[in-house]
Every structure is written in structure tokens, then in C-alpha cells.
């Protein structure tokens, strides 16, 4: 399966090489490939970091059947607004990002932690190892947390992140994205993913996004612009729903289901 072209040490592959590898793997998808291929050579960092053995089937046991609980002692409401975390206004396009967190049966994941992090409008992270030649925004850290409400709804106000270069290959650019960290009702539902913006011209070129080979599954990482969420003279609105796997807990252990 390894199709990574051997580049000389220290020499980055061209976009043409990466794109041709992406194209070869794109044609090999089958329906039901809902997750990224963890063995995805166009994403060079994955080559030595993906397991080669099949995952071992396990029945979840006690510690895996119960997700950690987060509450108002863990998260302050203001942490959901990334535009007010400093005394000044961050630069960029102010956006609202909202949606529901659901489990695999379509039930809302209630009162659970959602964490996000992202680059600023210029495509730079507040991280000492991010040395992209773009300005840091003194009024934007790019991290937020919130709890879902009783309907499973999360809500963040932030700045639209910019695309940024990375060294996977020559002239590699990530599409603009927001990283999301999610918990369900079981620990087995733990998920970290990335939300993308519709219409990004970089999608076809990006091996991380293209590691999801089923086009329908890829589209599930795209937020939708929702004009009804936009606010007059203030911000643009995006909607993105997130679906975790099913819960293994029995209904007996989920009394809150009865008050739905």
C-alpha cells in the first residue's frame, strides 16, 4: 500500500507528486470508508505513525462505558467567545460557529465538553514552533471551550482562520480549518477532528483532508454557511453538526433519555 515516492533526504516532494499519489488512492475508496485512512502516504508524517496491524475488536468495559463529566466548574461561559479573550478586538472576519453533537443513533450529546483551537486570520498559531511568516494577533489566542446544552448544541464566536503553509511537500498549504475535540456519553466516542469552510480551493491539494477517501464522508467535515445565523453588521454564521459513534450504554443507564 505504501506508494510514497522516495525523495532524497531533505528534499520535499512536489505538489504534482503528492497530487498524483492522492489521485491513485482516491480511486480506491469503497462505500463505508467513513474514516480517514491512517495509512496515507501523501501525508508524510503518517508513514511511521500508523499501526500496521488490524485493530483488535474489544467489548467496552467499565471505564470505557462512561465518559468523563465536565461542568460549569470546568468551563466558564466566556470561553466560548474567542473574540473577547483580550482587551482588544482580534483582526479578521468575525464568525459564529454552531451545531449539534449527536451520537450514532442521532441522540443529542448533552452537557459535554467541546474544545476548539485554530490559527488566526493570517494563518498563524500561537505556538512557539509555528514560525510561519505571518503576524501574530495580540488579541487572539485561538482556543475556546464550551459545554453542549440540553439539545446537544455547541456555540462559538471566533475569527475565521486563514490557510497556512506546512512542510509536508513543496508549496503545501492547509485549507482553513478549526480543530474540534469532542466527548460523547461513552469514552469510546472520543473524537478529535477538523471543521473546514465550504468552497476552499485547497481541498483537492491537501493530503490530510483527502485522507478521507469517501467523498460523502469528506463533505461531512464542511460547515455550511447559514445566512439566518449571520447578524446584521456584526458576524457571519456557519453551521456544522458532529456525529460520534453509537453509545454502548444501555437505556437503563441513561435515564435522561426519558425526559426528551
Amino acid at each position: 500500500m505504501s506508494t510514497a515516492a522516495a525523495s532524497p533526504p531533505g528534499e520535499l516532494a512536489s505538489q504534482r507528486t503528492i497530487s498524483s499519489e492522492i489521485e491513485q488512492l482516491r480511486t480506491a475508496w469503497t462505500a463505508g470508508d467513513a474514516q480517514p485512512r491512517i495509512d496515507y502516504p501523501p501525508y508524510r508524517s503518517s508513514v511511521l505513525r500508523h499501526p500496521t496491524k488490524a485493530l483488535h475488536p474489544a467489548d467496552p468495559e467499565a471505564a470505557e462505558l462512561v465518559a468523563p463529566v465536565f461542568g460549569h466548574s470546568d468551563v466558564a461561559p466566556l470561553e466560548a467567545d474567542l473574540t473577547i479573550q483580550d482587551r482588544g478586538e482580534p483582526i479578521g472576519e468575525r464568525i459564529l460557529v454552531t451545531g449539534r453533537v449527536l451520537d450514532g443513533e442521532g441522540r443529542p450529546v448533552r452537557h459535554q465538553l467541546v474544545e476548539i483551537w485554530q490559527a488566526n486570520a493570517a494563518g498563524r498559531y500561537v505556538h512557539q514552533r509555528d514560525q510561519h511568516q505571518a503576524p501574530l494577533d495580540p488579541h487572539f489566542t485561538g482556543t475556546g471551550r464550551c459545554l453542549t446544552d440540553a439539545e446537544g448544541v455547541y456555540r462559538f464566536v471566533t475569527i475565521k482562520p486563514g490557510p497556512y503553509p506546512w512542510r509536508n511537500h513543496h508549496n503545501a498549504w492547509r485549507p482553513a480549518h478549526i480543530h474540534f475535540s469532542l466527548f460523547g456519553t461513552d469514552f469510546t466516542q472520543r473524537l478529535i477532528t477538523q471543521m473546514y469552510f465550504p468552497g476552499d480551493p485547497l481541498f483537492g491539494l491537501d493530503p490530510i483532508y483527502q485522507s478521507i477517501t469517501d467523498p460523502a464522508a469528506r463533505e461531512r467535515l464542511l460547515a455550511h454557511y447559514d445566512h439566518d445565523l449571520s447578524e446584521h453588521e456584526w458576524q457571519l454564521g456557519y453551521r456544522w453538526d458532529i456525529v460520534l459513534t453509537g453509545s454502548h450504554s444501555t437505556p437503563m443507564e441513561r435515564p435522561e433519555e426519558h425526559d426528551a
Partner: protein, 182 residues
């Protein structure tokens, strides 16, 4: 209503370290409490090179086998045992939690989830206590002995537990999938 399709995972990337870690995230209990136990190890890639930009989380029962459902994991007050912790690896791939031994019937374990740059979807595994064996665990019983011993933490001379994670290679850690996952 048809069941909704799952949202795919993506890599945590290299720059989570200003966002997800928080104060005492790796201390499920204070190191000074009775029974405090260090669970630590190194994350290696397929070339045996330590992975400096991984994030591990653990979830576990208390000493009596109860899985806590208390809040307070992010702003820890040092009293509640919430049974959840998070630790990023350091420059040489090491992680370390301070916790207690999980108890209960069967073969108690610490559930572990691994994220890393280069890893496109999270990986689940388990760190069993020394002495765990196939007769007390359906999962261990389902694996070859040489494979299942990679799920059992090693007691070090200082009485800490070491559980190394090998993402790939001859010592590849057994990673798990659960019913209903796609």
C-alpha cells in the same frame, strides 16, 4: 429516522500544545496522596524514534472499581478523583500521569487514547496492571500471549508503572476497535 453518518476524525496536528493541555492535567491525584501511582512511558514511531507531539488521555475506575462521574477535571481542586487525565509527550516522547491503581473485579485497566501529529484518527488501547492474565480478561484471552503482554504495564524498581506505546513496528501496541465503530 435513519441513523446519521459519523463525522470522520482528523489528526490533532502539531500545534495543539497551546490549546488542550492545562494545569495539572496529568495529575488525577496529587503526588502526595496515599496510594499515588505514577503511570508513565514513551511513545515511539515505527523507526523506534520517540514522538514528541503526541497527546494521551486516560480514563479509569477508582480503587473500588467505580468509574467516577464527577466534574472538575479541567479546574482540578485536588480533592475529587474524576478518573480522567490528559498529558502531552515531552521533547523525548515521554508522558507521565499521577493516578491510583484501578480496582474492581476481573482485570482492571486504565483506558488509554492516543493522538499525534501524523496519526489521522485516534487510537484506543488499555494498560492492564501487572499480573493481569487471560483468565480474567476477555480481551487478553482473545490475543496471542506475546501480543497481549504488550497491554500489561511493567512495574519499575521505584514501584511506578511503565506503559510504552509503539505506534508501529515489531513491538506495535495492540490498538482496539469497539462494536459500532466504522
Amino acid at each position: 429516522m435513519p441513523e446519521p453518518d459519523p463525522t470522520p476524525g482528523q489528526t490533532i496536528g502539531p500545534f495543539f500544545a497551546y490549546a488542550l493541555p492545562y494545569e495539572r492535567d496529568h495529575e488525577l491525584v496529587r503526588p502526595t496522596v496515599d496510594g499515588a501511582l505514577r503511570l508513565h512511558g514513551t511513545v515511539y514511531d515505527g523507526a523506534g524514534v520517540p514522538v514528541p507531539d503526541a497527546l494521551l488521555e486516560i480514563r479509569q475506575a477508582d480503587g473500588a472499581g467505580r468509574v467516577p462521574t464527577l466534574e472538575g477535571s479541567i479546574r482540578r481542586d485536588g480533592t475529587a478523583f474524576t478518573g480522567w487525565g490528559r498529558c502531552q509527550t515531552d521533547a523525548v516522547g515521554r508522558y507521565s500521569f499521577t493516578t491510583i491503581e484501578p480496582g474492581g473485579s476481573g482485570a482492571p485497566f486504565v483506558a488509554v487514547v492516543v493522538f499525534a501529529r501524523g496519526l489521522l484518527h485516534r487510537l484506543f488501547t488499555r494498560a492492564y496492571l501487572p499480573g493481569a492474565n487471560a483468565s480474567s480478561s476477555p480481551l487478553l484471552a482473545s490475543l496471542d500471549p506475546q501480543i497481549h503482554e504488550r497491554l500489561i504495564a511493567v512495574r519499575e524498581d521505584d514501584s511506578s508503572l511503565r506503559f510504552d506505546v509503539h505506534l508501529q513496528g515489531d513491538l506495535e501496541t495492540p490498538f482496539l476497535t469497539f462494536p459500532g465503530e466504522v
